[in-house]
């Protein structure tokens, strides 16, 4: 029986440590992993728990991320709780197996510490890896700080393992800015945390020999489409369980999470939509602009990137005049993915806000409060003019001549 760990009411943890503590408290049966910057400490911290008697489960150090996720799939099919961690290139190497994990409806938890994708090689944070996973059939939940990385990792087990979902879940946090920045974190006790997550409920397990199961069958044109459609339906409808789990978590901790987070949106005239640590930067900028320049700025942040909260977006932006959607991944030949989702949501409503796209922060380029303020100011100019005064897509914080694409059609 694993030893319990005594935790203080307030701990000073970085995002990696927070995530690894959540894995320990969830009493994961198998962690199969391969280290990669900046998520390496999650695996290392967990290894320390194993070495010191705080873990009853198995700890499998695979020969690659592909092998790690493959072992996770085999372990999950054998009917227990499974988790791992990765970033960037490791995420890309796992990508094949991410689709296979979700296609087999295995509720694995993957803590992703977001990092840029090479080439050029870069270890710093952007959302290139996170975006690469967006069609992989996983629930994708985004944490903006260390506390959230801890809370949402606990929630992830409960969401993915719910019998109405049975899908793998990623919990994202920003490389270095969250993963390596120590902050105050309020943990649950080991008993409280496990009571919240609950026992794993095996479904179609390979270790029940009274009822043999075949995993990973082949389907061609006669069945493949139905299988994928059913999986999509499960992911689309998983919002109900996400809401339920967030409610339960609030009851337990007082910390309230929403699939779409909104800050100062009650009377907002302009808004930034963003993910990750940028959300907190944008909130701070909005508060200052409200105070200093009288700009009614607000911030909207999808906590749940998949399933995407379309209805909540429609409502949140219904009365906003100008919206900046910030993508921390280079879309390469298109608008940013988040921008496209927001436009997709708003195009089907009577509300017709002006929506522009900002690419920013690639490879860990700092995104400062002043950068956010400038974006808000441009939205204010749009709102006052009644049309988009800039190009549709702009690069924020890029050195050299301004880079922007697509002139908006002026009214």
């Amino acid at each position: 029986m694993a030893d319990k760990m005594e935790l203080n009411e307030v701990e000073v943890w970085d995002g990696n440590y927070a995530a690894s503590q959540a894995l320990r408290q969830a009493q994961v049966d198998v962690v199969a992993a391969y280290p990669i910057t900046p998520s390496t400490p999650i695996v290392e911290n967990y290894g320390a728990y194993v070495a010191n008697g705080y873990v009853d489960g198995e700890y499998v150090m695979a020969e690659s991320e592909h092998g790690a996720m493959s072992a996770c799939v085999g372990a999950a099919a054998a009917g227990g709780r499974v988790a791992t961690a990765t970033s960037s290139q490791g995420f890309m190497l796992m990508l094949e197996v991410l689709y296979q994990a979700s296609g087999m409806r295995l509720p694995i938890v993957l803590t992703v510490v977001n990092r840029a994708v090479a080439s050029p090689l870069n270890v710093r944070g952007d959302h290139g890896d996170m975006y690469a996973g967006r069609d992989s059939g996983w629930v994708q939940i985004d944490a903006f700080n260390a506390q959230e990385a801890y809370d949402l990792t606990l929630c992830a087990f409960k969401i993915g393992e719910d019998l109405d979902v049975r899908l793998p879940v990623m919990v994202h946090q920003d490389g270095f800015v969250t993963s390596h920045t120590a902050q105050n974190v309020y943990p649950l006790s080991d008993e409280e945390a496990y009571a919240f997550v609950g026992d794993y409920k095996p479904v179609d397990e390979m270790l029940d020999f009274s009822r043999p199961v075949t995993y990973g069958a082949q389907t061609e044109e006669d069945w493949h489409y139905e299988h994928k459609a059913k999986q999509h339906k499960a992911l689309m409808e998983s919002y109900k369980v996400i809401d339920k789990v967030f409610e339960e978590f609030e009851k337990k901790t007082g910390r309230k999470y929403n699939r779409l987070e909104q800050y100062m949106m009650e009377d907002a005239e302009v808004a930034i939509v963003a993910l990750g640590t940028t959300v907190e930067t944008a909130i701070y900028a909005a508060e200052q602009l409200r105070k200093d320049e009288g700009i009614k700025a607000g911030v909207v942040a999808p906590r749940s990137f998949r399933p995407f909260p379309y209805n909540e977006i429609r409502e949140a932006l219904a009365n906003v005049k100008s919206v900046a959607v910030l993508d921390r991944s280079c879309p390469m030949g298109a608008m940013g993915a988040l921008y496209n989702e927001i436009c997709g949501a708003m195009a089907s409503t009577p509300a017709n806000p002006l929506v522009t796209n900002y690419i920013y922060g690639l490879g860990g380029r700092d995104f400062a409060v002043e950068d956010a303020k400038n974006i808000f100011r441009e939205q204010k100019a749009n709102a006052d003019a009644g049309y988009i005064t800039t190009e549709l897509q702009q690069f924020s914080g890029l050195r050299g001549p301004k880079l922007a694409f697509y002139e908006a059609k002026r009214s």
């Binding site: 020969e63 092998g67 799939v73 085999g74 094949e96 390979m206 075949t214 990973g216």
Partner: protein, 317 residues
């Protein structure tokens, strides 16, 4: 471990049938013989994993399955990872007391073709063996990517014609030698490594049982004659396999703990490799005068390998 007695084939017919005859493998394919023999030589519960390949696509096409035991397929390369992940889960759940039947012994076995073993899945097996999981990996070696229509693999012998190493006006087929997969896994220090063949079914069953009984990672390369790509009549599978083992193209031997080598089958009459080659369409072009030197080279390498194996056995190191 519950070992099924294997005195004769009739006894086999009464054993636990966990691989159903209704599958889509080619008539005359040796894969099913090898797989059935593995499944029949133990009564223990089995968790099986299979890499993408002939065996996988022929046995689990939704909504049907040929497997009456736990079975998983993920992708081309990762059956070893899948089955060792399951083995880790078994250990964890046994420790925590969450297994439905905690006292029943369970064996973990992965199957792969030579494509997924020698080539695309090589790293995954190496990793699983190094980690020391208690499992057996069985390669069904038919010396080509048969599932995709017969392309070369690094198990394809020199001189064989495949669609990506073709024999033609200026080519005698594959130019490179076959990888020594048995030696490679012996070099991992695996406790039991062997090369076995379904024509010598008693030896094969004994080897399988030894692997299943041995704690730790075991690797077995099995000869799986491919009627479609080796180009011989489906009724001749065992005949061709006899020629393979009796010409010593496929010597049957085991290596214990990475060092101690035992030859498990010594042909009474060693036949020239030419007879083995002549029985298959894939070597037809080697009998042209300009390609005869390749046959000589193959024979020379077989002789050298046999000498090497015998000296290793004698030295007992």
């Amino acid at each position: 471990m519950a070992i099924t007695s294997i005195k004769n084939l009739k006894e086999f017919s009464t054993t636990n049938e966990r691989f159903e005859g209704a599958h889509l493998l080619c008539p005359g394919c040796a894969h099913s013989m090898i797989v059935r023999e593995l499944l029949n030589c133990t009564d223990d519960n089995l968790v099986l994993a299979t890499n993408t390949g002939c065996l996988e696509v022929s046995t689990a096409v939704y909504p049907y399955t040929s497997w009456d035991t736990s079975w998983i397929h993920i992708g081309f390369e990762n059956a070893a990872s899948a089955v060792t992940g399951a083995e880790a889960m078994y250990k964890a759940r046994k420790r925590k007391g969450t297994l439905k039947d905690p006292d029943a012994p369970v064996k973990f076995v992965a199957f792969g073709g030579d494509g997924s073993t020698f080539d695309i899945g090589f790293q995954w097996i190496s990793g699983a063996v190094e980690r020391g999981h208690d499992f057996t990996y069985i390669c069904l070696d038919n010396e080509n990517y048969a599932n995709t229509g017969g392309q070369r693999s690094s198990a394809t012998p020199i001189g064989a014609h495949t669609s990506t190493a073709q024999a033609g006006r200026v080519s005698y087929g594959k130019k490179q030698k076959k990888k020594d997969i048995v030696g490679i896994f012996a070099a991992h220090g695996a406790p039991y490594v062997a090369q076995l063949s379904p024509n010598k079914w008693k030896i094969m069953a004994k080897g399988f049982q030894k692997a299943l009984e041995t704690e730790g990672p075991c690797f077995i390369n099995t000869v799986s004659a491919c009627t479609t790509e080796w180009k011989f009549d489906p009724k001749d599978t065992i005949h061709v396999t006899d020629l393979a083992t009796d010409s010593l193209m496929f010597p049957i031997y085991e290596i214990i703990n990475g060092t101690k080598l035992n030859i498990l089958y010594r042909p009474k009459n060693i036949i020239p490799v030419e007879e083995y080659l002549a029985a298959q369409g894939r070597y037809k072009h080697l009998f042209k005068p300009e390609n005869r030197h390749v046959i000589e080279q193959i024979q020379k390498e077989i002789d050298e390998k046999w000498e090497y194996l015998q000296r290793r056995e004698e030295a007992s190191v």
